[in-house]
Symmetry: C2
Subunit: 383 residues, 2 copies
């Protein structure tokens, strides 16, 4: 896409637009450019404001054979922004999010915008360090669930997963602060159990508790997690607001952020919304997510492989001076398929496999088989 | 829909599901119920947990002649929740938000859930009090825009709108903290100008500045607004996260919240997402919005009249002990049409008309005509 620096813009945004009923794609692009900036009819703004502030349609190109789907690239000037993430989102995906048949599919952000966002504090290298410095293989994550289990039962699963050599053990995002496993007790006791098991078994599992909850108690939850020895947490950006992720990260919260897509409302197959790769791989990463969970192909959701690969690519690609984030495919991965996924997605992948292990008669053995597959996939086995 | 109390649930949620390729609607409903609760395959949870925690499909009913669209009502038990708004959203619209062809269309919330959320602190009666106790007519709002204008130019518009008798003068949501009209200076000077004009002209306009911005500076912005004499603010729940609205309101921030739909990503015509009436009229209201802006029919967006009326109905309907919120139709309302909209939507409407006034040769006269139409629509003219 067109680079923002080449057109002197703060941001160039690419939208995929489907036209219907004889709409003119060029005029739809102009409508978006106006809606996202001046939001007044042509002629209602002073000419100098119209000249400087109106979004500029750089090009509209057909994307399909039928002439129904177009890609429009729009440049937004520096004066529209104020350095905040909320205003960045407001300009690139504000009122246009209420229009039908428009999706945000690409962003080229100027250095000024990129430098103003924290990006991952840990990222791929930091999470690798956390789990023993494993460099040359994909990582394996699994989940403590289901909601409704008490802390003892969650500990039982955590101990088995730790012994099996799982790298990151995370709370299910359904575990909040319910009476069955209250947050504070759960985090302390599970963290203790994982640490003790690591000590005994010589493993390096990291436990990431789920901290999503009232935003005015989020800092407290992160502190509880950190003080319990956790080096990462699971957080749902769409439930707390993406800017809340930024605040945690810029506040040096001291734990890695594994972002979970609950409530994110994105799908590769929808005509609207922000494309999943851009939302999770770029925007969540820029806000500070060190790992981004998405729903894998062949799982419980109907995401095609190309969409999964696109998230991986965005999470890992060069992006200003920001670290890469771990892409985390999840959502119904089968234990029998993991070698395939490791081969397909490569080393810088943190595979999350939950339910398929929990339904095994021997959870520990099932998890160990996944870890072994990860070792075989990398070149660590021969090191 | 089925009442949560009648089935002993915390929440009953209604989803509209479109089936494709021979899918069985009942099994799609069961998939949603499992995804939103246990999120493990059948048999992987202990039987007592499966019995108590799994979402319960209460019914699946066909909604169209072709047998493609179904409504599924699912009951969620009290044990899934922890009293937080984030967990409420996580359960009713969490991972299911990543599925295709599913939309959240209804909620029946138990008293326990309703009582745990703040709802509007001002609502319809409080906003009426703010603007002079006007009881028997619709209210009129207009916007200061476009972005790029300096504070002097914004004041010029604000003074004209105040003199015209506009009830609520709001910042455009594109006004953030840009150098052209920095937040603090803008809020203080516009508020002063509106107050002085009210004093001279005998009007009662309220100025609601736009406070969306970094969430760690939101309380500061609200304080600046309140100290400048503002009795309300404009805030975009989707940009800051809905729970951040709740925090402001429960913290007795002292100003009314006019919620703006930027970034909300909802449309009446989409198959996915949360239906606009439920999102804006119920969920935003429960989080504490006193007025909810939506995009009107016949405007710049393709929302049908039925969707607009549905937002109105939700915002005003009985909902536990919560006050009604003002529905605020907006987004391209034409000055020539306002009498029609007042008649169509009734007295408890806060009509927002912006660009159509700003393109008039005499903004003040154009705005006064809208206010006059509002007076004629109510029975205040004859009082």
């Amino acid at each position: 896409m067109i680079a923002s620096r080449d057109v002197g813009a703060a941001v160039v945004a690419a939208y995929r637009v489907r036209v219907a009923g004889g709409e003119d794609p060029q005029s739809r692009a102009l409508d978006i450019a106006r809606e996202q900036t001046l939001e007044v009819p042509s002629g209602a703004a002073p000419p100098d404001v119209e000249e400087r502030l109106l979004g500029r349609v750089l090009g509209v190109h057909r994307e399909d054979a039928d002439g129904e789907v177009f890609r429009a690239e729009i440049a937004y000037g520096h004066e529209l922004f104020d350095g905040s993430l909320t205003q960045l989102l407001n300009v690139v995906w504000g009122n246009v999010s209420l229009m039908d048949r428009v999706r945000l599919v690409g962003l080229d952000l100027s250095d000024a915008v990129l430098d103003g966002l924290p990006g991952p504090r840990f990222g791929v290298p930091g999470i690798r360090d956390m789990v023993g410095g494993v460099q040359r293989r994909p990582l394996v994550s699994s989940a403590l669930k289901p909601v409704g289990l008490g802390v003892d039962a969650l500990i039982d699963i955590a101990v088995r997963l730790t012994r099996a050599g799982v790298d990151v053990i995370k709370d299910d995002h359904g575990l909040a602060d319910q009476a069955t496993a209250p947050f504070r007790e759960r985090v302390r006791r599970v963290s203790d159990a994982v640490r003790e098991t690591n000590h005994r078994a010589g493993t390096r599992a990291a436990y990431f508790p789920h901290v999503t909850g009232p935003v005015d108690r989020l800092a407290e939850r992160v502190t509880i997690a950190r003080e319990a020895g956790c080096r990462g947490v699971v957080l749902c950006p769409a439930l707390v607001g993406l800017d809340t992720v930024r605040v945690l990260v810029e506040g040096d919260c001291g734990v890695a952020i594994m972002a979970h897509p609950s409530h994110a409302g994105t799908s590769p197959n929808a005509e609207g919304g922000i494309a999943p790769d851009l939302l999770m791989g770029t925007l969540w990463r820029l806000a500070g997510a060190d790992a981004v969970i998405y729903v894998n192909a062949r799982g419980r959701f109907s995401w095609p492989l190309s969409a999964c690969k696109a998230v991986n690519r965005r999470a890992r690609e060069p992006l200003g001076s920001h670290l890469p984030a771990f892409p985390v495919p999840a959502g119904g991965i089968q234990a029998a398929d993991v070698a395939h996924w490791f081969e397909t997605y490569g080393n810088d992948t943190l595979l999350l496999i939950g339910g398929s292990l929990l339904e095994a008669s021997d959870v520990e053995a099932a998890a160990r088989a996944v870890v072994d597959a990860a070792r075989r996939a990398g070149d660590e086995g021969s090191a």
